[in-house]
């Protein structure tokens, strides 16, 4: 009599992927089964959930109303499993997300400490943009994540984990900000940025606008090392936390320029879902976080 959770999860996947074929791949099954599950769900509910058109499926009104329930129930199911298995001792899987920059300089020590204290926890780390991480935490695919402030969401708990100072990074030959401004053409330097969704990217855009380089060229990169390497090679400038740049292997090949705007200071938050149950592994992780020396790293 109750709705089948497998059907609901399938339905969510189809809604997210926009088509049965793609959803089938994601779910590691064949199309026909996905079709079946969706049809079963539609039969149970008595209404069409998707409009079929030649390029995939889009949600109907009923589908849109159902989707948030499907997602919440799937999240609850995961949480229920953890809660039931959790006897108070941190163990089992723990999925943490992080911005690339935080992962590079803040987490190695923290993760080592965590593993020392709670060896039974299998921690997986996923790096992504702040926007994707927040989505992941809300959807339940991540237990917690390090993201750039500010984040405001009723379903999220957040705490400041680190303070970062953003600095402008350029090739070594620009010894100061003024040298940089003088040494670049009117349209400004090339800006090396992460993919959309990265908060630091937005700050860099803002900075370039303030400098009078609103139309500066963007060059999109995926990795931190790649970015610093390109800067060292003189391809352009970028904006990164000071701690990241100073510990870079290519420290000697680049110039660091402090900024005196107030927003060069940015907090890294640790966010987690508000939920009824305290997941021990996650509690253990946050207890490592608040263990002094990590938190107040400048």
């Amino acid at each position: 009599m109750p709705l089948d959770l497998i059907d609901l999860v399938t339905f969510s996947a189809v809604a997210r992927c926009g088509g049965i074929t793609r959803a089938a791949e994601e779910l590691n099954t064949v199309q026909s089964n996905v079709t079946q599950r969706v049809k079963a769900l539609e039969a149970e509910i008595g209404t069409a959930l998707f409009e079929r058109h030649s390029r995939g499926m889009t949600l109907t009104g009923a589908g849109r109303r159902l989707l948030p329930y499907a997602q919440r129930m799937a999240a609850l199911s995961r949480e229920a499993l953890l809660a039931a298995r959790d006897d108070g001792e941190p163990k089992g899987p723990l999925a943490i997300g992080s911005m690339e920059t935080t992962a590079a300089v803040r987490l190695p020590g923290l993760l080592a400490e965590f593993h020392r204290r709670f060896p039974k926890v299998t921690l997986t780390l996923k790096t992504a943009t702040t926007a994707d991480l927040v989505t992941g935490v809300l959807e339940g695919t991540l237990d917690g994540a390090f993201v750039a402030a500010p984040i405001e969401h009723g379903d999220l708990l957040s705490a400041v984990a680190f303070h970062e100072e953003l600095v402008l990074v350029s090739a070594l030959r620009f010894s100061s900000l003024t040298a940089l401004r003088a040494g670049t053409s009117g349209s400004g330097p090339t800006a090396l940025v992460f993919r959309t969704g990265c908060t630091y990217r937005q700050r860099l855009e803002q900075l370039l606008t303030d400098f009078g380089w609103p139309s500066a060229v963007r060059f999109e990169l995926g990795t931190l090392d790649g970015m610093i390497g390109c800067v060292a090679a003189g391809m352009g400038v970028t904006l990164l936390p000071r701690a990241v740049v100073e510990r870079s292997q290519q420290r000697d090949e680049i110039s660091i320029h402090a900024l005196d705007t107030p927003w060069s200071r940015v907090d890294t938050l640790f966010v987690q879902r508000r939920s009824t149950h305290q997941y021990s592994a996650l509690t253990g992780f946050t207890s490592c976080l608040t263990a002094a020396d990590h938190v107040i790293a400048a």
Copy 2:
């Protein structure tokens, strides 16, 4: 991969009933199936959820942690079904609960009006005590209920539906409160009360204590008519809303005594679950409620 909702519902039933045999009856199935579902769930989770002893089953720690999730997911499933089917036009089932007294005098007109405006809604009415009604609303078996104030609960929305004046009802021969006090023995009259959980009953207890009849005999009845009949027959006194008594068929055979304590005034609230989706049938019902003349019935 996700937990099976049928298993969770079965699990909830076993937890509530305290045994597989009773749960099987409630679920309209046989014991063996319930055993299977519970074992399947325990296998999936990897922990025992019940302690088996000769007189039934009791929850283990893991079971206690799981139970609230199981209940919430079951409630979400019901709500999801309604939300998906609900296209904005009030129709389908609507389960309303009410105190017996409210049902007797306040609801007949309201329900008639509601049915006239929204004939496609199949309304079912259940009368019970305030305590049971609140539980029903929280569990999702009722969409809304008329209960006695005060109710404070974070998951409930409430609005004043009616104002009631509680009056003491006695046999006809006691023409006034003083006559009643004089005409009864030192230990006080027999108090005719509803079953435990009824708010009016608590008020009556309070009243008798104030009158100096703390040990007055209680006589428990199930129906309103039965209660008034017994009062008319001189078996004792009771406390009821004035509107109920005045419209009683046995109005001429009883005496009504107004009370001048402040708590003789009591509000009847309409409570419903806070939920993401606005269920049209319920919205239609509350719109009838707020349609003036019903609300401010003295």
